[in-house]
């Protein structure tokens, strides 16, 4: 039986492959192994980025106080006497943002779940190109390594914020991190973009060409729809960031003036003339805004699946959901300049971007209401994954509504670059995507490792995480409204002139840091559960969540080609839960329609 499958796949060996350690675990071309590699790298990078955030949160809550914790991690150079240095504070903020956005939530989230689920859920033996898939991971690995290494060099990592606006990022004279640290940042991101492009092209081709018999586009699980649209967004927008990175490199290394004009820095009069730093911002945000949805859409897709399965109900408004995904994907390309309302650009242009930005709220609202309606009259089973999926919907609402205030250019004048923005995007993009990722890990862990994660630890993890997360980011809105600019090393400077705002900011900063430390400790529970279960967890059953999609029809043990024998044939959409007239509360996609049965 296995031989048939393998012949179809161009192999001639039986059962167990004669694979060497290297080709199985390292330079693997199998989507399941690559998915695990992405996840492991992402977990590592995520832990690093979280630790960085704790380091700078300590400084924000207790500015100038000596801490052994800081000197333990940063040493005498960056935390002399246990007090974080000004420059390194910016370095920590920058690398925290970069890793979280790109390495955890773009590479990690899409890389893990697109790789795992696209072939499984569309009924394919593997990705369209196993080799490109492997290349995509190894590029990701190299770029992660470069970014990580940049933390340890003498002049420090990049320090210009994760958006690395020039001229600060272009001039090593302006800040020490704009030397070698920035070069490594740009090199790392260039390789990362290559990884992302290769991966995305592969995902698009696989979804379009390798769907199994009967798997029409309108029978795809929403996960696949989100991965598909995400990949398209990536292919269209990442090259623009690549161009920005290359032009910035030229400005730094070859003396060009794309982003520089009329500058005197540290007494040195530069000859650059005619460039515009604003041009960089347009290029950056042309990626940067779709990037928000590159991060968010896969999380929404994963949670759609999890919510439907564990409510034992079809996802409400399947076609409206697809429509929303496409609408969000399209609109995400014409809103970028809402990050730039106060750069001095033409106010009329600002008006246009206000309009398009607020339009995005409509498909987002549709998605939220559809999730809530899916829960309505369901039969909800609280797996850890389900908890995180519900958490995602909550943070998506909470973070989404503050976006309405920020999208209003007139109000953005007063909130731009304050902690209100920090709170907004952390809740809507950071938390939602992280919750989606956790939901995905808990839900598909049995598929990835053939073991079960401990549910009790999962529950504790969820409740600590959501309390910690809201505890961190809810008060942060009020820090921002009090007028606290982001990326400030020490807010005591505000106290000298405006004691009211200062008291509000400092009190809340302490609360925020305490919750942040609590949430970070909560993640240790996850890490323990995750690694323990990989090695010692109880064995899973084939379809632990009683789900309808194709991945649960594959054997527990990973085999090359996914299905022994022929590929499954699909007869129905993926959301036949609790369908009237059926004895069981779920009908897998592979079950043919009964005579007289309507599809949906």
């Amino acid at each position: 039986m296995a031989a048939v499958a393998h012949d179809a796949h161009g192999h001639d060996d039986h059962g167990h492959h004669e694979e060497s350690f290297v080709s199985k675990y390292i330079f693997s071309q199998d989507h399941k192994m690559i998915s695990k590699q992405f996840l492991m790298t992402a977990v590592f990078m995520g832990v690093v980025a979280m630790l960085l955030s704790i380091l700078f949160r300590i400084q924000l809550a207790w500015p100038g106080e000596s801490s052994d914790f800081l000197s333990f991690f940063l040493g005498d150079q960056w935390a002399p006497g246990g007090v974080l240095s000004e420059d390194m504070y910016l370095g920590l903020v920058t690398i925290h943002g970069t890793i979280m956005v790109f390495f955890l939530l773009t590479g990690g989230l899409s890389g893990t779940f697109s790789n795992l689920l696209i072939p499984y859920q569309i009924g394919a033996r593997d990705m369209a190109s196993g080799f490109l898939n492997m290349l995509s991971y190894w590029f990701f690995f190299i770029s992660s390594g470069l970014m990580f290494v940049s933390l340890f060099i003498e002049t420090g990592p990049a320090m210009a914020g994760w958006t690395i606006y020039p001229p600060l990022s272009a001039l090593p004279q302006a800040i020490s991190g704009s030397g070698l640290g920035m070069t490594l940042w740009l090199a790392s991101m260039t390789i990362f973009i290559a990884s992302s492009l290769i991966g995305s092209l592969n995902y698009i081709v696989t979804v379009l060409n390798l769907r199994t018999k009967g798997m029409h586009m309108t029978r795809l699980p929403l996960t696949i729809w989100t991965f598909f649209v995400t990949a398209i967004l990536g292919v269209l927008s990442f090259p623009v960031l690549l161009s920005a990175a290359l032009l910035l490199m030229m400005d730094r290394l070859a003396g060009t003036s794309f982003f520089l004009s009329d500058i005197i820095v540290q007494g040195e009069m530069l000859t650059n003339h005619g460039g515009s730093p604003i041009l960089y911002q347009h290029l950056f945000w042309f990626l940067g805004h779709p990037e928000v949805y590159i991060v968010l859409l896969p999380a929404l897709g994963l949670s759609s699946e999890v919510i439907s399965t564990n409510s034992r109900k079809p996802i409400f408004g399947y076609r409206a959901m697809i429509g929303s995904i496409l609408a969000i994907g399209f609109l995400s390309f014409i809103v970028w300049a809402h990050h730039m309302f106060v750069t001095g650009m033409n106010p009329f242009l600002g008006s246009v971007f206000v309009f398009t930005t607020l339009l995005i709220a409509i498909p987002s609202a549709v998605k939220v209401f559809n999730y809530i309606t899916t829960l309505w009259k369901g039969s909800i089973i609280f797996t850890p994954a389900m908890l995180f999926a519900i958490g995602l919907v909550s943070t998506f609402i909470t973070g989404g509504v503050t976006g309405i205030i920020l999208a209003d250019a007139a109000l953005d004048i007063t909130t731009h670059d304050t902690y209100f923005v920090v709170a907004h995007f952390h809740v809507v993009m950071g938390l939602s995507a992280v919750f989606g990722m956790f939901a995905g890990v808990y839900h598909w862990f049995p598929k990835m490792y053939g073991k079960m994660m401990n549910k009790k630890l999962g529950y504790i993890h969820f409740w600590i995480t959501i309390v910690g997360a809201y505890g961190v980011f809810f008060p942060m809105h009020f820090v921002g409204l009090a007028g606290a600019p982001r990326r400030y090393y020490d807010y005591t400077v505000l106290g000298e002139n405006d004691i009211d705002s200062f008291n509000q900011i400092m009190d809340l900063n302490v609360i925020i840091t305490v919750f942040a430390i609590m949430a970070a400790l909560g993640q240790l529970i996850f890490l323990f559960n995750f690694f323990y279960s990989i090695f010692r967890g109880p064995k899973t059953v084939q379809n632990p969540w009683k789900s309808t999609t194709l991945e649960w029809t594959t054997p527990i043990e990973h085999i090359h080609g996914n299905w022994p024998g022929e590929l499954p044939t699909v007869h129905r959409w993926p959301y036949d839960y609790s369908k009237p007239g059926s004895d069981v509360d779920f009908i897998p996609q592979t079950v043919p329609l009964a005579p007289g049965e309507e599809e949906h």
């Binding site: 302006a174 408004g317 829960l375 039969s379 007139a410 002139n497």
Partner: protein
């Protein structure tokens, strides 16, 4: 070292202990014959209850924050358009709060209410066009309202400044602000970054004299072209390779720049010099007049900065190579605000709100808003202090860079009686923060 070892040991032992506990737990669940994928009724009820509890805690926490920090958590606005923006924020805030409470309530309530109950099947409800239409159209209408109000304010705020607006330039560099008032003619003199002379012409104002000064200093100054050439060609001077490379690069740059300076000299229209002469420059404190419209022009010397006036609800980036603008009219004096806040040493502040380097957070400027009378006295002092007895302006570029305090000290005023001037200084002094006093 020992403490580090002990920490490591504790961590390892902790992990081992946790692993043992896990074994125990697994053995007990084996005896009960439940797997990790079997979610018991007890698990479901527990989490459902927690969902509801969490929602209540979340709502209470939010209400507590609002009560403690006064609704939106920001103080009174101090500019004309600021009041309009605060009204707009309130409108948005109400809508946002309604959506936040309603949808989060539905989410957590349903999660609580529709938890699995043995024997009750889920309701098969794949779609409903009417419902979906409702929650597409209602958000669309609400958003249309938000967009209309928002754009109305945006157009007001970004419209051209009134004709009587005083033009003030705010010049940013790592890590401080300098203000240049347009003076008697309300026109800012021209500038070009190549004319920057740290001590004498920091804002690079363009006059016939300053161009000549820049040319002279670039050709024959301490680090001028002739000095560099001399050093690079003199075989008796030993230069390290790095030093030589740096000097060669510097020379190359200066040769480029000097050509541009000569071009500038040729093109320069000396009749515009007077626009620069009457400009006056202040550091540390920006004085504004209540109910007087201002148009601020922003410049940056090095990297991006952002002029952020939280109390005036105003913000604009400063961009090297470009001039950006923002206008506002302060309508509460510093003294008014001190009374209304009940804080004696309150001051308006201009912050930098775009990451610009290590000391970014220290980059600020105090703003003092005065009643018209006091402001006029101050402005007259600043302008008259620079005018010679025959009414001509002091054309020496060296005078650029006066601060208010210096002028007050020197008091070279002829047409202001001595006593009047002192009283002005006292009035102003009362408004200047302690640390800034001369």
């Amino acid at each position: 070292m020992v403490t580090k070892l002990i920490i490591l040991l504790v961590i390892v032992l902790g992990i081992i202990a946790a692993a043992q506990l896990m074994r125990l737990y697994e053995l007990s669940s084996k005896m009960r014959k439940t797997g990790e994928h079997d979610i018991t009724n007890r698990d479901n009820r527990l989490n459902a209850g927690l969902m509801l509890t969490f929602m209540i805690a979340l709502f209470l926490g939010f209400i507590w924050l609002m009560l403690k920090y006064g609704w939106t958590g920001r103080g009174e606005a101090a500019s004309v358009h600021g009041h309009e923006l605060d009204w707009l924020l309130n409108v948005n805030y109400v809508i946002v709060l309604a959506v936040f409470f309603l949808t989060n309530f539905l989410l957590f309530w349903f999660a609580f209410k529709y938890v699995k109950k043995p024997g009750v099947p889920a309701f098969y409800f794949p779609h409903d066009n009417k419902l979906e239409m409702v929650w597409t159209v209602i958000p669309a209408i609400v958003l249309a309202v938000i967009i209309i109000f928002g754009l109305r304010s945006w157009n007001n705020v970004t419209a051209a400044a009134a004709d009587d607006a005083i033009i003030v330039e705010l010049f940013s560099k790592q890590f401080d602000w300098t203000a240049r008032y347009s003076g008697e003619d309300n026109k800012l003199g021209k500038f070009d970054y190549k004319l920057t002379e740290d001590a004498k012409n920091e804002l690079a104002l363009m006059t016939t004299e300053s161009i000549q000064m820049a040319i002279d200093s670039m050709e024959s100054g301490v680090k001028g072209i002739s000095k560099l050439e001399l050093q690079l060609n003199d075989r008796t001077i030993m230069l390290t390779p790095e030093d030589r490379a740096a000097k060669t690069k510097d020379l190359g740059n200066k040769e480029k720049l000097i050509r541009l300076l000569y071009q500038m000299k040729m093109k320069h229209n000396s009749s515009l010099d007077a626009q620069a002469w009457d400009d006056f420059i202040v550091r540390d404190t920006l004085y504004l007049c209540k109910d007087q419209p201002y148009e601020f022009n922003f410049r940056s010397k090095d990297v991006l900065h952002s002029a952020f006036f939280p109390h005036f609800r105003a913000q604009m980036n400063t961009v090297p190579g470009t001039t950006t603008r923002f206008k506002f009219t302060p309508d509460l004096t510093t003294a008014d605000m001190r009374i209304s806040r009940g804080v004696e040493d309150f001051d308006y502040v201009l912050y930098c709100n775009k990451i610009c380097g290590g000391s970014h957070y220290k980059m600020k400027m105090i703003i003092v808003v005065l009643e018209k009378e006091a402001y006029d006295k101050w402005a007259a002092l600043k302008m008259n202090g620079r005018k010679a007895a025959d009414g001509s302006w002091d054309a020496e570029p060296a005078t650029f860079g006066h601060t208010f305090h210096k002028v007050a000290e020197e008091a070279p005023v002829e047409d202001t009686p001595e006593d009047e001037q002192e009283s002005t200084s006292e009035e102003l002094d009362a408004l200047v923060p302690e640390g800034d006093k001369v």
